[in-house]
């Protein structure tokens, strides 16, 4: 199954959806405001209906992506606690830590007296939500599976937190940058990539993850066709399909260039042309997190995979994109060697033909 690419029509649907959702919130809000303390009833992304005390002043986030989303919405002052893994932005590290996302301390969460705890289905455990429920602490769960989901999730969350304007502007920015990217990439054939989560054994990402969708937005397509989220992939399959590029996220143990050098010494990896020719891309760890920053990771990847689409434009657009990306992020991909544009391009156009048949 192919997930739909995000285009203006889809965005319009999202807007309609969130507008439809907004009045119901407002209604229940005014209804319950008669008897204090007020509650608002909302349905979260896993279909649970929850009662959130109003106004939401104290929030605990149990996932790095949700922490990042709160910062993007400008809600950092209401964030009173987050997890050990919440390391972006740097300020998030100073918040009270409630433990790991997988095994947070419910005691610490309770001691922070949150109005709302944010969880995400793919990362946190249902047990945590149940324990919070028993303590009467409301928790709201997100469950994005595509980039479009991430954008709509940000907007819906902003609605739930009574900040629809901030949500709309963050979502609009994400959408705008993705549309811009889409225009640049145009109808360039997508590069066939292997997203490497782990090398020995080889673990990659399945088709129904937001990660695979992020690759599609960056003008790439994963050669791994699996319904599992984190499949262990047979190297023979990789050697048969010969990806144009390997893609690493920065969090992968150590430096990706050293990782590739390591693989190049091994007989089984030597025959993968992308390893032999050192064709790989390294992008920010943000690609692993369903938060607004994922768009930057998508842009980084697109720039490394399709350098032509970015160099042929005039100088001022280049400056503009540099302004959009803080220097720290630009540094992240500056030292990465990618293949000579014409060479890799020629290679892709050959294999790109096979892709259409798949």
């Amino acid at each position: 199954m192919l997930l739909p690419r995000l285009h203006p029509a889809a965005f319009a649907v999202l807007v309609v959806f969130s507008c439809a959702a907004a009045p119901s919130h407002a209604q229940s809000g005014t209804h319950s405001s008669a008897e204090p303390p007020t509650f608002r009833e909302v349905v979260d992304e896993t279909g649970r209906s929850i009662r959130i005390p109003q106004p939401v002043r104290r929030i605990v986030s149990l996932a790095p992506s949700l922490t990042e989303t709160l910062y993007a919405l400008g809600l950092q002052d209401r964030l009173v606690g987050d997890t050990d893994q919440c390391d972006y932005p740097a300020d998030a590290q100073k918040k009270t830590k409630v433990g790991g996302g997988i095994n947070p301390s419910v005691e610490v969460i309770a001691s922070l007296h949150p109005d709302l705890v944010l969880v995400t289905k793919s990362y946190n455990r249902p047990d945590t939500v149940h324990s919070l429920e028993e303590l009467g602490i409301a928790s709201y769960a997100t469950d994005p599976h595509t980039i479009a989901d991430i954008i709509s999730s940000v907007k819906t969350l902003a609605h739930v937190l009574d900040l629809p304007d901030a949500g709309a502007s963050v979502a609009e920015d994400m959408q705008h940058r993705l549309d811009d990217l889409q225009r640049r990439l145009g109808d360039l054939p997508p590069k066939r990539v292997l997203f490497v989560v782990w090398t020995q054994p080889l673990i990659s990402t399945g088709q129904h993850t937001f990660l695979a969708d992020a690759l599609r937005h960056a003008g790439a397509v994963s050669i791994v066709n699996s319904s599992q989220d984190w499949p262990q992939v047979n190297l023979e399959e990789v050697a048969k399909l010969q990806p144009d590029f390997l893609v690493f996220a920065e969090s992968h143990s150590g430096d990706a260039s050293r990782e590739v050098e390591k693989l190049a010494t091994l007989p089984a990896w030597k025959i993968v042309h992308a390893v032999r020719d050192r064709r790989y891309a390294v992008i920010s760890d943000a690609v692993n997190r369903p938060a607004p920053r994922i768009v930057s990771a998508i842009e980084e990847l697109a720039r490394q995979l399709h350098p032509d689409a970015f160099t042929e434009k005039s100088g001022d657009t280049k400056r503009k994109t540099e302004k959009e990306n803080p220097p720290s992020r630009s540094l992240a991909f500056a030292p990465v060697p990618w293949n000579q544009p014409h060479l890799s391009h020629g290679h892709t156009s050959v294999t790109g033909g096979c892709l259409c048949g798949r």
């Binding site: 673990i203 992939v233 047979n234 399959e237 050697a239 969090s251 010494t265 025959i271």
Partner: protein
């Protein structure tokens, strides 16, 4: 004891070797990438004739660089585990003993996790960096062997029960450390360890590693085989063995070290592949009897057959994805073991 005729031993091993040969052909034929038997035969022939440079097709390279080394690895690991299991069962005089019972796999696991954590901070040359985790695992296995040996000593010599208990407790302790490391250290570094602990033969190694593994296997197995007669006598009891002139202390020490090294070699390249060292010796004993002079070589061949089959299944059942081979051996091995156990009780 019945005299061992060379003909009988040769005959038994020959049958198993033929089975192993066919299993290897099947393992080479099937996989994520389809290969015709003709192409396989042609490529194998050119490899045997020393003209491997003639193989130019991608499929040939896949066989040569991925599938064939993996089958060889499966053979070495399977044979090592099975010989180690046979030895531990004789040494501890306990049919439930398996190569991992003395905690060796957890010791290897702890140092493998540590290796994964510190490797990025060292600037090793690529070839050494690729070997770093297995090397750490092997050192961990060796350290565990030493510690458990001293724990298992009583009045200067190994006591079966103390050794067994000491090994089991050390294993628990070390597995707790693995859990501790994995939940405290940044998670992405240790993600692969879970797969590694479940047993995995998909790791690719340089050619030299195979020579090292093969040399280690033949050396350790040779040492154990030299004590095969003593192990037979030991089965009838320690006192009896001593009266018959067996140096029980020396035999125990030598067999313990050699069997542990076999386990360490296997675990450092494949993680923990369970049940092979437990089941295969039992089956071989049922078929060929419990004379260690025939049991050791037949168990080696049987272990190789079992792991090659299990790994082929792991590769093709959910192709183009893979199962951890340890999951396959456990799914097949546990029910089989219960069957053997009930049969013995009946």
């Amino acid at each position: 004891m019945r005299p061992l005729t060379f003909r009988k031993l040769f005959f038994q091993c020959f049958i198993l070797a033929v089975i192993l040969f066919f299993v290897v052909i099947v393992a080479l034929k099937f996989g994520a990438v389809p290969v015709s038997l003709y192409a396989l035969g042609r490529d194998l022939l050119s490899v045997l004739l020393g003209r491997s440079s003639q193989i130019s097709s991608d499929y040939g390279l896949i066989i040569q660089n991925i599938r064939f080394p993996r089958v060889i690895l499966a053979i070495i690991v399977g044979a090592s585990l099975s010989v180690a299991g046979t030895s531990f069962q004789a040494l501890l005089r306990n049919p439930l003993a398996d190569p991992y019972i003395l905690g060796v796999s957890f010791g290897a696991g702890v140092t493998a996790v540590l290796g994964l954590i510190i490797e990025p901070h060292l600037t090793l040359p690529p070839a050494l960096a690729a070997l770093f985790t297995p090397l750490c695992a092997f050192l961990g296995a060796a350290a565990t062997i030493t510690v458990v040996y001293f724990l298992g000593r009583r009045q200067g010599q190994i006591d079966s029960n103390t050794l067994l208990l000491g090994g089991v407790i050390t294993g628990y302790f070390l597995s707790a450390i693995i859990v501790f490391l994995m939940s405290t250290v940044n998670s992405s570094n240790t993600r692969g360890v879970v797969f590694w602990l479940m047993g995995n033969l998909s790791t690719s190694f340089q050619k030299s590693v195979f020579w090292f593994l093969a040399a280690g296997f033949f050396l350790a197995t040779g040492v154990i085989y030299a004590s095969a007669n003593d192990l037979n006598i030991l089965l009838s009891g320690e006192k009896e063995a001593m009266h018959l002139g067996v140096d029980v202390r020396r035999v125990r020490f030598v067999v313990y070290v050699a069997a542990s090294l076999l386990t360490g070699l296997a675990v450092s390249v494949s993680g923990a592949i369970g049940y092979v060292g437990l089941i295969v010796p039992h089956i071989m004993r049922l078929i060929f009897g419990s004379d260690h002079r025939t049991l050791l070589p037949t168990a080696a061949l049987g272990g190789a057959i079992a792991v090659v089959i299990a790994d082929t299944l792991a590769r093709i059942v959910v192709a183009p994805n893979e199962l951890p081979v340890g999951a396959v051996t456990a799914v097949v091995g546990a029910p089989l073991f219960i069957y053997l156990l009930r049969r013995r009780l009946a």
